[in-house]
Symmetry: D2
Subunit: 360 residues, 4 copies
């Protein structure tokens, strides 16, 4: 049981509330002798932090991470790595609204009903602020994988659908992703997305998104049959991210519409090189990596905190309505990209280490 811990061998435990003094995580099971600097973690955190464009929340969160343990003279020692991020810019705002009213689409209702108490300030524990800890843990996983597998290893994510607007997945270009405010991999659609999201924001509404994360350069054999399938753990990882409602591996939900011959990826070999002629499987067969690119997509629902008025009840059982003011992302999906990358890095390292235990 692990309410706040993710992973099996490479494990991280997150803690902290949105408006408490700090948030953080403990990364356990990290192999020794890996070079890790605060800057390695910070640079990943910077991708996620709000206030970077008008398309994300205007909160100023420095998200300055500190390493408190587990690194000695620049190297991991095999002991737990404790990371802390002190909370800043916690506006002394009036929480009275969300204190007593349940915001539709938020966990206010379920948390209070389950626990009989909750820290409502800024969403408390249910705030997506927790994902900063995931990004920090993922930065460490990434460094370990690069060290173990080599530079051919790469995890990269992008927004492939913004609300009702998809992009052309065939135009995916790694380099484009960091050049726009949407993590969009298709240069040709960026302008349209900009227009669309501005209009969404202006109207006091929000929209959802689909994020795709890919991993390249992996060995064959990560994952294990039945209840440690790689795709099972990836699904679990992505569905644990705030606001995620669906996960696809490869062709995902769409595979229902394919025939057997359309779906199953043919295999051929040239010299030592094994090639799959397509990748509907998303790089995973029978729960085990094929050596192809791992392809995962997940849907992030639209931000539930919107200006538009919504009917709800308060904690006393009275019917009322709510309009959530504040500095909210018009599309939280955008900032989910580094989170998805981080979770995939963590799952992959976990299975990389597990594979050592199973088959070495």
């Amino acid at each position: 049981m692990s309410f706040n811990t993710f992973g099996k061998i490479f494990r991280f435990t997150t803690w902290g509330e949105s408006h408490g003094p700090a948030i953080g995580c403990i990364v356990d099971g990290c192999p020794p002798n890996i070079n890790i600097k605060e800057q390695d973690i910070q640079s990943e955190l910077n991708k996620r932090k709000p206030g970077q464009s008008k398309f994300t929340s205007q909160r100023k969160e420095d998200d300055k991470v500190q390493i408190l343990s587990g690194i000695f003279e620049g190297k991991t020692t095999g002991t737990p790595i404790s990371l802390i991020i002190y909370n800043k810019d916690m506006r002394s705002r009036d929480y009275e609204t969300i204190k007593n009213k349940f915001r539709p689409g938020h966990a206010d209702f379920t948390y209070l009903k389950k626990y009989g108490i909750r820290d409502y300030r800024g969403g408390g524990r249910q705030s997506a602020r927790e994902t900063a800890s995931r990004v920090a843990a993922g930065a460490i996983a990434k460094k370990v994988l690069e060290n173990k597998i080599g530079k051919k290893f790469k995890v990269i994510g992008a927004v492939t659908q913004l609300g009702i607007l998809g992009c052309d997945i065939k135009k995916w270009n790694d380099k484009e992703i960091r050049k726009n405010s949407f993590f969009c991999p298709d240069k040709s659609i960026v302008k349209l997305w900009k227009k669309y999201l501005l209009s969404i924001r202006k109207s006091g509404s929000s929209c959802g998104a689909i994020i795709q994360v890919r991993a390249r350069g992996l060995p064959i054999g990560l994952g294990a049959p039945i209840y440690s399938k790689l795709d099972m753990d990836i699904a679990s990882a992505m569905m644990s991210i705030n606001a995620v409602k669906g996960v696809n591996i490869g062709s995902g939900m769409n595979s229902a519409q394919l025939t057997g011959e359309q779906n199953s990826d043919e295999i051929s070999q040239k010299g030592k090189k094994i090639k799959f002629n397509s990748n509907n499987a998303g790089g995973i067969l029978g729960g085990i990596s094929t050596g192809q690119e791992i392809i995962v997509s997940f849907a992030v629902k639209p931000t539930s905190s919107i200006l538009k008025s919504r009917k709800t009840i308060d904690k006393f059982g009275k019917n009322t309505s709510i309009s959530v003011k504040g500095r909210h992302d018009p599309c939280v999906g955008i900032r989910a990209v580094p989170v998805g990358e981080a979770m995939l890095n963590c799952v992959l390292l976990d299975h990389y280490l597990m594979n050592k235990a199973q088959c070495s």
Copy 2:
């Protein structure tokens, strides 16, 4: 780590290969003093077994379950329940084809590469035969939940899309589901599906499907924040089923296309009764059950064992092709319905018991 175990408190461990002497599972963490008879398990297994119509495999598997432990004088005792199903109808067929060639879409390739050995007979451990054990475990979970929550509790699944043909989800009718060979909830589409699947079968091909499973009558409060989210564990459960490539909770992948006001389910109260005006959330907010119906959908890819010839390689690295003969389901998704029900029952009981530990 749990390669072959699912669950946290209510846990089951499955074992067995398709053509070994038997398959089975151990159900651990089952509460004491619950009435369970072999027949309770058998009747669930009967829903899944092949050979029931021309739309499923023509293998004759009795799937006769025996209880070997954990039940005393008709009641659970709190000790592990060992269930065994002896394998029958293991045709002395020629396995030479699949022994050396990797069937596209199957785990043949990854298993052999990972482990350096595999029992290829009938797919061995990677065979969907393993899901019989899940159905058996799910039958026990169902009995416990009915005992603890009462008869208002119900889990029911259906096929909502067969290949390219969807059904009208608004016409969902529980009673229709058991009346046709497709677990189809919409009477009006059954004839068309029949025609379609016959043509698929005749052409030596196969098709995918989408299964939806619903749970009713649950209390508020199942699930837990962050890494024990109810939807996370459901996604994990469904993705662990053979051939599943995507999982949706409520509006799932489609929620990406909604706006905030379309997506977030408004709440109202009348007397003591809390009502959500829609259910895009699929009954789960912040990883915790809202008391609404839980709605899960998952996609099963088309059967990879097809008559149509496919390019592949053999284990010696030679390019070749394969055409899989035998008694295969033209749509394995159909028989995934009782498996999805079973997995949902197991996850729900697991969280029901966890909730007792957390909040009582």
Copy 3:
């Protein structure tokens, strides 16, 4: 949580009641490509089975093990190994006595109070019969370790104290252990033990024992700091055996009486060979193996089923007394030797695999 599962990577789950149809276990996480035959397991079980001398229970239990899965063409495949032992010689005896009365020293009282139900026949789940499953799992662990570490690896246990009679530990001789009915390592004391135990048996009483298990040929580095210490897991393993009340590592409880200079094992090096000048640590420092012999001792309390009358209550709360007839071991500690060996083999393999995950 794992009520009936032991281990982290190499895990086994046991099931079965003393007088149910069968007992057995699932061994999960076993590496692939290890040669294992039923006979490898059977020969370990034979060490444990009762009826081998007049110093153990006169029950005839064949304890014939069958492998139901996980082995293909004589080799492990990485899938779960299911082992079953059908119960025989379940005398149709009158259980009325133990059905209603709580035998002092037994778990009758606590099981019934906790679960409200129990299978009382022959002790049900609480019977030491469960340890046959452990011995079977241990036989597999032993085979894997011999394969991975080589023939220098050896785990061997002995009874070092029988009731009030110790043996001379300095006279420990591996070869003597199998030559007598007590697993006694010191030839010179065997006669006296024989006399003593016969008198105990004649008087309708029983006695306790201390078992010592040693492991040789291990690499440095098994175990991990803090909560995966090797000694912590060994203590856990041994304390989980029925009737065990104390566990020592190396000098154990006696280390309290030593001074710092008496206790800490000095180290010296000659060429590449590191030598500890003593082994108070029992081969473990800071939870990690030093490469020395691992030395574990545990105390088994005297058999609680004795002919002598003992005061107790029945389940209706009435004061009464009980005298347990039947075929009981005058010293259950003797048959605990192969169980202790099995548990140590399992813990060591588990840590061997974990170490691969941590440091390779």
Copy 4:
């Protein structure tokens, strides 16, 4: 797998090195709505901190704990509780000695061999400083148990043997324990212990100790058969404490020397009150609490850091010798008392919550 996490439902994860910026822990699985103040934790920490008498280390460690999450308006919310203790008084001492030489009896050798790197400053992660985190977690467990079970619940530990000097266990007096510098429960021996320990210290040596911890007021039914036995988890907990080499439950190792009739605790009933006429079982039968006092003893080996010169090798393989200067406890066992109490509190709460999951 949980290298730095202890527990199943109530879990804590510790982190930090002796001379890093801070140490701390995350307490997860704590029930909501429990009043907890920093002072509740601080007062337990104060029992453990060094420098309180001349019989413990003269380091000045304030061990000032801060709560960073999980408590809202004085109450637990069910989210993880993050505790931090900043390190102070980290003398800029010369670590060159222990940097390269392996101190006999310490984990220097095994850590470096396993991980290839270690933070040697003050023992790094292997320092008993980690136990401060355990005491903090235990303080929370204690508050929860008092809330759930009531004020009759009490865990109390004492030193029952100091080196070669035992105390009269029958004279155990709770009130005496806090009145002397040894946590000694027997007033009559205190003077002698004082003399003895002063002479040990003067000679530059150290001695071991036996600690006994008792828990009262517990319900029947904590624990579970086979691999979640209460005594198994207690043994695991105690053996995880630095320098512990042996664990006894009730009569422990001594039970080997008893006969069946001496050992098994007779039961009688008067009205509703069930009474055991003795407590060799230490309050646990078949792994489940009987309702009697839980009695655990464990041995702490003598401090390995002593002034007396010891032979050892350095990390370059050269034979040498070492004499450890500094502010070391002449008997680390003394400060292990609050640690043992804390660990028992944690195990008991864990099983209390597990019992809710199993049997409610």
